[in-house]
């Protein structure tokens, strides 16, 4: 099985440790990943902020770069949801600017050749994109990844992994199987942390108000570590925790799962 790692632009630039953790974890489980060197970004920021033309260009790149793999694994629920859930809608929307035109005299929009090719590429690639927890539980069929992490941890199910991908309790099952790890329930876990991509800077007061409530809930658990499967949300919550000297560190799920005895 050929497995590609989609690191995401945010992790590539700011959180290489998460990428290294994914690589070491998957290798430990007997799965070698490739890193398609041409990859950059799935286009989520552009697409979700209303810059469809720019976003679609990046989406086209994505499906070209990741064509031909059996699986594409990514340590971001949000980017996985963008590709798997949103790309198909984008590609099959008859009004999609770059993919359709009104043929002369025709009353209906007809897809252009480029639009048809994009749709075909999306249909090929999108279903093979997995968030890390999905790949572990559903594809590799493993819940106990042999990790050791003797700390008190609480888990925040990010919106796009919970409501976009519907990963359900897969991350919790993985965490429960980690030796030494004490998992404590996060009150109001399903509520958004207030990151929301460009929302965080377009509506800073609201984003901060939502984050403050999330931080309060995190602190109430007495956990040492806040874990999530998306570094974007963790940057927001962690940035607030750091500002308030909350004494809780944030860690990506991959980093906890990659920890083994003697290396945690």
């Amino acid at each position: 099985m050929r497995v590609a790692l989609f690191i995401t632009c945010v992790n590539d630039t700011l959180f290489p440790g998460t990428g290294k953790a994914v690589v070491s974890l998957l290798r430990r489980l007997g799965c070698d990943v490739e890193f398609p060197r041409a990859q950059t970004c799935c286009g989520q920021m552009h697409l979700n902020t209303g810059y469809r033309r720019d976003g679609v260009r990046l989406a086209r790149r994505f499906v070209e770069v990741f064509a031909g793999y059996d699986a594409v694994v990514t340590p971001s629920g949000s980017c996985a949801a963008m590709v798997r859930e949103q790309y198909p809608r984008l590609a099959h929307n008859p009004h999609f600017a770059a993919g359709a035109s009104v043929a002369a005299g025709a009353r209906r929009l007809v897809p252009t050749r480029a639009g048809r090719e994009f749709a075909a590429a999306v249909d090929e690639v999108a279903p093979k994109v997995y968030d890390l927890s999905e790949f572990l539980v559903d594809v590799l069929e493993v819940v106990d990844v042999g990790a050791y992490f003797p700390h008190r941890v609480t888990y925040h199910p990010t919106c796009h992994s919970a409501r976009g991908l519907r990963v359900g309790d897969r991350p919790l099952r993985l965490l429960r199987a980690v030796r030494g790890l004490e998992l404590v329930e996060l009150p109001g876990a399903e509520e958004c942390c207030g990151f929301g991509g460009t929302f965080a800077v377009k509506n800073p007061a609201m984003s901060t108000a939502m984050g403050t409530d999330k931080v309060r809930n995190v602190l109430s658990t007495g956990a040492e570590v806040l874990c999530a499967a998306d570094n974007s949300c963790l940057t927001h919550i962690g940035g607030m925790l750091a500002r308030e000297r909350g004494g809780v560190r944030v860690m990506h799920l991959a980093e906890i799962l990659a920890s083994t005895e003697g290396r945690s």
Partner: protein, 491 residues
């Protein structure tokens, strides 16, 4: 009641795509309204308590039904079918209402609807009307339009009464006075009831029962004295020409049965083909809305019935931008809305901003997709509404007719005007991300300068992030450079 307070009708909407005229409060953009709201601790407390209570109630009664998802799918399908054949069902409805002795009027926009209603009231010779809680009449600013014609409209829904007495604006679809607590309501009753009719009893306490009794006494006089009523409707059944109102208090029932003339102003999207279709919505709506298994007062009427209820019935069918919404293949799903407000109650943004921040009678997630479509995005507020969401998706999950609100928000963001600086930034990001080499070069530059990058004070618009949040340290090496250097950690 000549001394009835009236609200300024608000400025006219600017140039925009939406052709509807929805009452506009002329407020600044959403981020500023929200920033003010999140600093109001009383408002935060009131809203949190109310939304979490209804949210919990809804979740428990929805969870009881093993076939909720099937009901939801049926509700969506019925609405979609009806909207696709709206012309046919509206004509059928018109025929059925007319055959049952009612009169049907067609209103293209708010002004026309207001003109029709004012004319109908004037024809009765009356100068006052009682009102059933109605979103459509709020949308078109009917009370203000009637006041300009010398007609006083009396709200009879308890929450709408509180809003009217307080010269306030509704902040929630289902519970318009959700932003008020009972101490505030007591003060409003004591200060303003006398201006509108029977005064509040002396020594009124803020006990909910005492407040309800004061409202009951005040309203009862009004019901018995008023000969014209104005309502909206939750549903209109095309096959029989029957209108349906769901309410919890019984005031609506009083308005619909006691007066001699009944005028109903209803959006054209409220039609359903048959009574069998209604059955689905009578299950979906109460559970989603008030968190009740069954609705307390469900009133239905078909034209007029001699010796029973109003002698004259007028139905004003309101477009006000709806056919434009219908023309948008993505945005049209907003017309499925049955105004339950489940999306408001579950929304983390609404919970902290309150309804007024949305500057429209339609607040919350549904308002953020409905208002810009009906009214256009010609004002800073309307252009900011599609961005008043973190796209967390909680609204879509609870919507009883499966409106994919995040999808429509993103769709509208694509049509919203973008600030030049933002556009330039996005263009630059797109250029940067369109070649891996460019991204790698910038990553290396950032790594070299990483000690110079302030983690707590970024310049310009990025300060919106660092005002409240640290940025993470820039690593010495990006992932891709690590991969190249170590061949994926194998060397």
């Amino acid at each position: 009641m000549g001394g009835a307070p009236s609200r300024a009708p608000g400025h006219a909407p600017g140039p925009a795509r939406g052709r509807g005229h929805v009452v506009d409060l002329g407020m600044p953009a959403f981020p500023r309204n929200a920033a003010r709201a999140v600093a109001d601790s009383q408002l935060r407390f009131n809203l949190r308590k109310a939304t979490h209570t209804i949210r919990g109630r809804r979740a428990s009664v929805v969870g009881e039904l093993p076939d909720w998802m099937e009901l939801r799918a049926a509700g969506k399908a019925i609405k979609d079918h009806t909207l696709r054949n709206l012309d046919r069902y509206l004509l059928r409805l018109e025929r059925a209402v007319t055959e049952a002795g009612g009169h049907v009027h067609w209103a293209a926009d708010a002004a026309e609807a207001n003109r029709i209603v004012a004319g109908l009231v004037k024809a009765t010779g009356e100068t006052s009307v009682v009102k059933v809680k109605s979103m459509a009449t709020q949308e078109i600013g009917l009370n203000e339009a009637l006041a300009a014609e010398g007609i006083t409209a009396y709200e009879t829904d308890l929450a709408e009464l509180i809003v009217q007495l307080g010269d306030d604006f509704p902040s929630h679809i289902l519970v318009p006075a959700v932003h008020r607590n009972r101490a505030e309501i007591r003060e409003i009753f004591l200060d303003h009831m006398a201006e509108w009719g029977r005064p509040a009893p002396e020594g009124l306490s803020d006990d909910p029962r005492a407040l309800a009794e004061a409202a009951r006494l005040h309203l009862r006089e009004r019901f018995l004295a008023t000969k014209v009523a104005i309502s909206g409707a939750n549903f209109m059944v095309a096959e029989t020409g029957t209108l349906v109102v769901l309410e919890s208090e019984g005031n609506g029932r009083m308005c619909l049965t006691l007066p001699e003339t009944l005028i109903s102003v209803v959006g054209i999207e409220k039609v359903v083909p048959t009574w069998r279709d209604l059955e689905v919505f009578l299950q979906l709506l109460p559970r989603s809305s008030t968190g009740e298994r069954m609705n307390p007062y469900t009133s239905t009427w078909t034209g007029v019935t001699p010796g029973d209820g109003p002698r004259e019935f007028h139905l004003v069918l309101l477009d006000n931008g709806r056919t434009d919404v219908l023309a948008d293949e993505v945005g049209r799903q907003a017309l499925r809305c049955i105004r339950c407000s489940a999306c408001l109650n579950v929304c983390p943004v609404y919970e902290r901003a309150g309804g007024h921040a949305y500057g429209s009678v339609y607040p919350g997630p549904i308002g953020a997709i409905l208002t810009p479509q009906l009214r256009g995005m010609g004002t800073p507020l309307d252009a900011s509404l599609p961005y008043a969401s973190s796209l967390c998706g909680a609204c879509y999950d609870v919507c009883p007719v499966a409106i994919d609100i995040p999808e429509v928000l993103v769709h509208l963001r694509g049509r919203a005007p973008h600030a030049p600086a933002e556009r330039a930034g996005m263009r630059a990001a797109s250029w940067l991300l369109s070649r891996a080499g460019r991204l790698a070069a910038v990553q290396r530059l950032a790594a070299r300068l990483r000690r110079l990058i302030p983690r707590r004070r970024l310049p310009g618009p990025l300060s919106a992030w660092t005002d409240t949040r640290d940025i993470p340290p820039v690593p010495a090496e990006s992932f891709r450079d690590w991969w190249d250097r170590t061949e994926g950690g194998t060397r």
